[in-house]
């Protein structure tokens, strides 16, 4: 088994075409990103408080005012300006604020345009509306505990802020690098594809020769997979080291987990490549390669490789896509490492990726393990 793996690794290592796509291309693209965005990144401002106007009418909900006050205190998420309706509208028109909360018989939000800040404001209001009943009940029955509920809401608002930050373009330039790493991981499709090419007897004479050998198909599949995973991991680590050490891209303080994410990303890239090649096995190499590239590029695009806030757009329009897109999971896992103080979301992303990789691998195995064909 070790010898099989060794030779497969050597074969991968001497495949310059493959190495170009999985190693050189991401490095070149990363360098271009750095050259293009370098200045922006250095000047990148951290999350700013969202300036809003608050217009409270006589019969407005007092509890909402309390919540907004809390959110203005907590890490300064909101920058609240109490004013009247006309002044608020003027400020909004002049783009000095992002929105107006008008607290009358019902609470309304007025915004000028769609964006991440506006989404945060809308989400805060939605969250409040959902919890309004509880707040009123506690205010009536146990007013002393109201502050805890409001605090809880403020924490929830903080979470929304962070969630929005990760999906939005608060740190748009880093999003490009996260998407770049995701793309490099997804280029594991080429490595996984190579495996299948050398395993399915109806795809290549080499695969036929291996299939009719005295070695079990499982041993061949497994040793190929281990070899490809090793190669892909080494390549990704090299690419990441280049970004961190040479280009000085700041991936935060948890570099170990960044590497882990990348390696798990590589695993899913390989598994996906195996699946694509196993399914498209009957077509010629150009078609197989075309399908593999198209899928990985589409995933990378949706994770924000070409348009920084694409993941945010997808999150708004069709969030399930982000949950199923391996590239989005990779970039989101990287982002969540920098944004969240706990590992809940990171762990969720990693576990999802591992499950997806396992599913892809098992399906590929079922398709590739066959030793007898109807036609070759």
């Amino acid at each position: 088994m070790v010898r099989h793996i060794k030779y497969r690794i050597i074969n991968f290592a001497r495949d310059w075409g493959l190495l170009f796509w999985i190693l050189v291309f991401p490095i070149v693209l990363g360098t271009l990103f750095k050259v293009s965005f370098g200045g922006y990144m250095e000047n990148e401002e951290k999350f700013e408080s969202i300036a809003i106007a608050y217009v409270e009418m006589e019969n407005g909900d007092k509890n909402f005012s309390t919540v907004l006050e809390e959110l203005s205190k907590e890490e300064g998420m909101l920058q609240l300006k109490r004013t009247d309706k006309s002044e608020a509208e003027k400020l909004l028109e002049e783009e000095k604020i992002k929105g107006i909360y008008r607290n009358d018989e019902e609470i309304t939000l007025t915004i000028k345009e769609e964006g991440v800040y506006e989404t945060i404001l809308k989400t805060i209001l939605d969250q409040y509306e959902q919890k309004k009943g509880i707040i009123e009940e506690i205010a009536t029955e146990n007013p002393t505990k109201l502050q805890y509920v409001v605090k809880d809401l403020a924490d929830s608002g903080d979470y929304i802020k962070q969630k929005s930050m990760s999906n939005g373009n608060m740190d748009a330039m880093m999003n490009y690098f996260y998407a770049l790493i995701a793309m490099a991981c997804m280029y594991g499709v080429f490595v996984g594809g190579e495996n299948v090419k050398h395993l399915k007897a109806n795809v290549s004479p080499l695969a036929a020769r291996r299939t009719i050998s005295g070695t079990t198909k499982f041993k061949l599949i497994f040793s190929d997979f281990i070899a490809s995973f090793f190669v892909q991991s080494v390549v990704l680590i090299l690419a990441l080291l280049y970004l961190v050490c040479v280009l000085k891209v700041d991936f935060g303080s948890q570099l170990g987990l960044v590497f882990l994410t990348t390696i798990v990303g590589g695993l899913i890239g390989i598994s996906q490549g195996m699946l694509v090649y196993a399914i498209t096995g009957k077509f010629n190499e150009n078609i197989r390669q075309g399908v593999a590239i198209s899928i990985s590029m589409l995933e990378s695009f949706l994770s924000g490789l070409m348009v920084g806030n694409m993941k945010n757009v997808v999150e708004q329009k069709m969030p399930i896509l982000n949950d199923l897109n391996p590239a989005a999971l990779i970039s989101d896992a990287l982002y969540s490492l920098n944004v969240y103080s706990d590992y809940k979301r990171f762990t969720q992303n990693i576990v999802t990726m591992l499950v997806m990789a396992a599913v892809f691998w098992i399906i590929s195995y079922m398709l590739v393990r066959r030793e007898k064909y109807a036609s070759i």
Binding site: R3, H4, Y7, I10, N11, F12, A13, R14, D15, H198, A201, S204, P205, L206, A208, R209, R210, T211, I212, S213, G214, T215, T216, E371, K372, Y373, A374, S375, I376
Partner: protein
């Protein structure tokens, strides 16, 4: 009685409406170099792929070494060496590494494997190319590497599917000599080709295939006896009257004559001293002649006569 290495009974294989193998039967004994001869599309490669359990088939039975063949019969597969029609090696591994890799699919013992790999390299004459990568090798050398990868583990049964396609004459001779040597060392060989000269040169028994059927089976001598043509004589004659042509046609064992482009072609269905009789007739009748060629029938003639078409059609 020698052991049956391969037994194929009533093998039927269809690709949709196309009948690739039509109740094909075959038995190959230990120690034979068995030739499967037939034009492209006759079913040779399909037979080989069915034999190796790579292809499913619609009907029939295949036994190797007396045991029914199946994809999971790894102990049987370990006794087989295959040289495929297309070169099947890793482009990123050197000559030595490729042979070692494929030998390692059968042989686990490191020391023994090393010995086998060295022997295989020597056998195909690639000693000077051990560290070269396949893309740097010529077509002939690549074919030799392909063979080395298939036979390095010293299998009992070697299947060679058109191993000399697109090979230079020097490499071809080397390959054919090698096959005979493998046979001398004890391997049973199945050799498929559409080059009748090769099959005629090395095979001890031959099956001629066409349209998925075995249309003739036997030693080359037995096959040649199946056809009418025993000898073909070509004589250059500038002018030959119809009367003389008719007289020559009546000589013993002559069954057909053709006179075209100053060449008289005479077909004999056996007999001895045919050439002497023709030359005596020409001398007695003062018919001047130029070069004379005498040819014995080839497997192509056998195929032509049985099927009405050339082997390479």
């Amino acid at each position: 009685m020698s052991e049956k290495i391969v037994e194929i009974k009533n093998l039927v294989k269809r690709y949709g409406d196309l009948l690739a193998l039509d109740h094909f039967n075959l038995e190959i004994n230990q120690g034979e170099i068995f030739g499967l001869l037939g034009p492209n599309g006759s079913g040779k490669t399909t037979t080989i792929n069915c034999l190796l359990s790579l292809l499913s088939f619609d009907k029939g039975e295949i036994k190797l070494f007396g045991e029914k063949m199946a994809p999971n019969k790894y102990h049987l597969k370990k006794e087989i060496g295959v040289v495929l029609q297309n070169v099947a090696v890793f482009e990123g591994l050197t000559v030595y590494e490729n042979i070692d890799y494929f030998c390692g699919l059968y042989i686990n013992d490191k020391k023994l494997r090393k010995q086998y790999v060295e022997e295989a390299i020597q056998f195909v004459g690639l000693e000077d190319y051990k560290k070269m990568l396949p893309p740097k090798l010529s077509g002939g050398l690549l074919r030799r590497l392909n063979i080395a990868c298939g036979i390095a583990h010293k299998p009992k049964l070697i299947i060679m599917d058109e191993p000399t396609v697109a090979v230079d004459p020097q490499s071809r001779n080397k390959i054919l000599e090698g096959i005979e040597e493998l046979n001398r060392q004890g391997a049973t060989i199945i050799y498929t080709s559409h080059y009748m000269e090769e099959v005629e040169q090395i095979c001890t028994r031959i099956a001629i295939m066409d349209k998925g059927k075995s249309i003739a089976l036997g030693t080359k001598e037995e096959l040649k006896k199946m056809i009418k043509t025993g000898e073909k004589l070509t004589v250059e004659i500038l002018q030959l009257s119809k009367e003389h042509k008719d007289c020559i046609s009546k000589l013993p064992h002559v069954y057909q004559t053709e006179y075209q482009d100053n060449n008289l072609v005479i077909y004999f269905n056996g007999g001895k001293h045919n050439l002497v009789r023709v030359l005596e007739y020409l001398g007695e009748n003062e018919i001047s002649f130029g070069r004379v060629f005498s040819e014995l029938p080839t497997l192509n003639d056998v195929f032509l006569e049985i099927t009405g078409k050339q082997l390479r059609d």
